[in-house]
């Protein structure tokens, strides 16, 4: 039986989750200890910033609370204070949970892409530590495959849902490749820094315009691997750049319509190339009239937020389709698992039949005396055919019966009937 015990962003605040996290370096050691202490047959630990979960396959006999006990002991936490944050799921619920986590349906931001890699790493670590067995491995293969299908077949992870990612996505929509695109930062705020970092990581080249404090601009430029320029160079830089991120604390307009018009007139040869302006300052830095110029795209903070919200609504709508897909995959997995329970019974049945066939065949041969090879082959074929034909219907039925909910009772009845 598979059991999962853990905390997540739904049940525990960040400090609690942090205190229970398993760092990558000590994961192997923790896995081995957990498997031994909890008396588990297989073990896996998923530790991300939003959840810490212990997955085990344990004997039906193992008592409840052993996993919780391990978690408390390992992190030297008091069981009583931890108890309200912990959840415990077993069997079907645990399997469903594992599928949902991998498919990002349990994530804080539904559809976020990191979780798939984190789950993959967690199984990988368990495999390396030698605590992964057939059951958890099957769960790994099926849940990761289902998660990939969710990503490709539904739109759950499609569009950016944070302001800085929306800015990057829009830039991609306009320019395609961001490699070697010039990014101009006006003002050095937290948010513009974040958006610029994404752009630079995609291959953009940053220039930071300094305001009253040039040092700050130079510092940020160094961090972004770009260059700094004084604010007076605004028009020259505008003529060169593809993307502008403006986030100064200035009380009024910093980039006038005329600035952009003149800069674009000076862009000989690349006149028609688009210009993407992102105004994340409040109050706004860029004259809204700029957005009406040809080939110019101007987004302010509210616009970006609106896009992010629309994208999130789109994701939630897609989540329904993802839920249905995961449900289907879980049902399939459970059916497959049950069918596997019938396998030992089937092999036993086959072996038993084969033993009887051999014994009777030998008896018959003794009575018949020496036979030609043809006669022997015919006897062999005839007896094998009888056994196969007799066993075919029960084999099919057993495999089917194993998928039913009352499989255990049915299987034991069949065992009795066949005297196995």
């Amino acid at each position: 039986m598979i059991v999962v015990v853990g905390v997540s962003h739904r049940t525990a605040p960040l400090p609690v989750r942090e205190s229970l996290a398993f760092p990558r370096e000590s994961l192997a050691d923790a896995l081995v200890r957990m498997k031994a202490e909890a008396g588990a047959l297989e073990a896996m630990i998923l530790s991300t910033c939003n959840r810490v979960e212990l997955y085990v396959r344990e004997d039906e006999a193992a008592g409840a609370g052993t996993l919780e006990g391990f978690l408390c002991r390992y992190h030297r936490r008091d069981a009583l204070t931890l108890q309200p944050h912990l959840y415990r799921l077993s069997d079907t619920d645990a399997i469903r949970h594992a599928f949902r986590v991998a498919a990002s349906l349990e994530s804080m931001v539904i559809g976020e892409p990191q979780i798939l890699g984190q789950v993959k790493d967690a199984y990988q670590a368990a495999e390396e530590a030698g605590t992964l067995g057939a059951s958890l491995n099957a769960l790994r293969n099926r849940s990761l495959a289902a998660a990939k299908r969710v990503r490709t077949q539904t739109g759950i992870g499609r569009n950016a849902v944070s302001v800085s990612y929306v800015a990057v996505e829009l830039a991609r929509k306009i320019f395609g490749e961001l490699k070697d695109k010039n990014v101009l930062l006006v003002g050095a705020g937290k948010m513009s820094e974040l958006a610029a970092k994404h752009l630079v990581r995609s291959g953009g080249r940053a220039t930071v315009l300094g305001g009253r404090t040039f040092e700050k601009a130079a510092e940020l430029a160094a961090a972004l691997g770009g260059k700094a320029a004084p604010f007076e160079a605004l028009r020259d830089e505008l003529a060169r750049t593809d993307i502008v991120i403006s986030g100064t604390g200035a009380p009024g307009i910093v980039i006038q319509e005329a600035d952009v018009e003149i800069a674009r007139a000076g862009r000989r040869g690349r006149h028609a190339r688009p210009l993407f302006l992102i105004d994340i300052a409040v109050p706004r830095d860029i004259d809204p009239a700029v957005g009406k110029l040809g080939g110019v795209f101007l987004y302010d903070l509210d616009d970006l937020k609106a896009v992010a919200e629309a994208n999130l609504r789109g994701r939630l709508k897609e989540a329904a389709a993802a839920e249905a897909l995961v449900d289907r995959e879980v049902r399939e997995f459970l059916g497959w698992q049950k069918a596997r329970e019938a396998v030992p019974l089937l092999t036993e049945l086959r072996r038993r039949a084969e033993d009887i066939r051999r014994a009777e065949l030998d008896k018959a041969k003794k009575r018949l005396g020496p036979l030609t090879p043809e006669q022997e082959a015919a006897l062999e074929a005839a007896t094998t055919a009888i056994v196969n034909k007799l066993l075919h219907p029960p084999t099919v039925h057993l495999k089917e019966a194993a998928r039913e909910s009352d499989a255990p009772e049915q299987l034991s009845l069949i065992r009795k009937l066949l005297g196995l």
Binding site: A272, R273, G295
Partner: protein, 274 residues
């Protein structure tokens, strides 16, 4: 089986493809699913069979009259679409939104119009297959340029409105639309030029004159001139984007007129000859 049976089957498979692509677009999913691709490939194979059958039935390259012209153009456009999907680094699924309905409409027209009777000696010889193959692949490339140009304008409008919605994730980036449209115009223009030259030579061989001053000749030359302007201006000034898309659309209107006029008029001309 006669070419008609093949053509009806083709229509059914293209209808499935077209319907599926539109439905996928409305639900904002991926445009081309495995089902669509399968339906397309089966449809295309049937279409190829229909054309081959029609070729033997007609006794000449099946490109004369509305029935044959529409069918062959649909085939060419589909082939170009499939080649782009296969060989392009980033597949251009959104193009399906233009290609599938067009292929469906053209095959529908082909199904509804009678095949022209055979018999004109003008149609024998090599001029017909060479001239029409060049022209039709040129039309297909220019259609791609046109469709991508329209996508550019839609995408630009959505981005400019600051509330990107329906087509936001279907259409590739503006830059890619722009470069792809430019590339398609170059290819299409080269083919169109060769088609016009072979057309003039053919005319000379048949009528003894290069220029017969028919509307289709005028519109073909008009389209040619517009594309020259588009290509030169793009190269010289780095002009592109919105204005290039608009000019490309205008030039394609002339191309479309040339195609329609040619196939309607040849249909009547050939039908009149006993």
């Amino acid at each position: 089986m006669s070419s008609h049976v093949y053509l009806v089957l083709t229509l059914i498979f293209y209808a499935v493809g077209a319907l599926h692509v539109v439905l996928q677009a409305l639900t904002r999913r991926r445009l081309l699913t495995n089902w669509t691709v399968a339906a397309t490939l089966v449809g295309f194979a049937l279409h190829t069979a229909a054309l081959a059958q029609r070729w033997t039935e007609a006794g000449h390259f099946p490109a004369v009259g509305l029935h044959d012209g529409a069918s062959l153009l649909a085939w060419t456009v589909m082939l170009v679409f499939l080649v782009i999907q296969t060989y392009s680094k980033t597949p251009l699924e959104a193009l399906g939104l233009a290609v599938y309905p067009l292929a469906f409409a053209l095959v529908l027209i082909a199904n509804l119009t009678p095949a022209v009777p055979v018999g004109d000696p003008v149609l024998r010889g090599l001029f017909l297959p060479i001239h029409t193959t060049l022209a039709f692949f040129g039309y297909a490339a220019l259609f791609v340029a046109f469709a991508v140009g329209v996508m550019y304008l839609i995408q630009e409008r959505e981005l400019k409105s600051r509330a990107p919605r329906t087509f936001y994730h279907l259409i590739p980036s503006l830059e890619r639309c722009d470069t792809l449209s430019a590339r398609a115009v170059e290819v299409g223009f080269a083919l169109l030029t060769l088609a016009i030259i072979t057309g003039l030579l053919w005319s000379h061989a048949v009528h003894g004159r290069y220029w017969t001053s028919s509307p289709k000749e005028w519109s073909a030359v008009l389209a040619w001139v517009l594309y020259v302007v588009l290509i030169l201006v793009r190269q010289r000034t780095g002009w592109g984007g919105r204005r290039a898309a608009l000019l490309g659309i205008a030039a394609f209107a002339a191309v479309a007129f040339t195609f329609v006029w040619m196939n309607i008029s040849t249909a009547s001309v050939v039908a009149r000859t006993p």
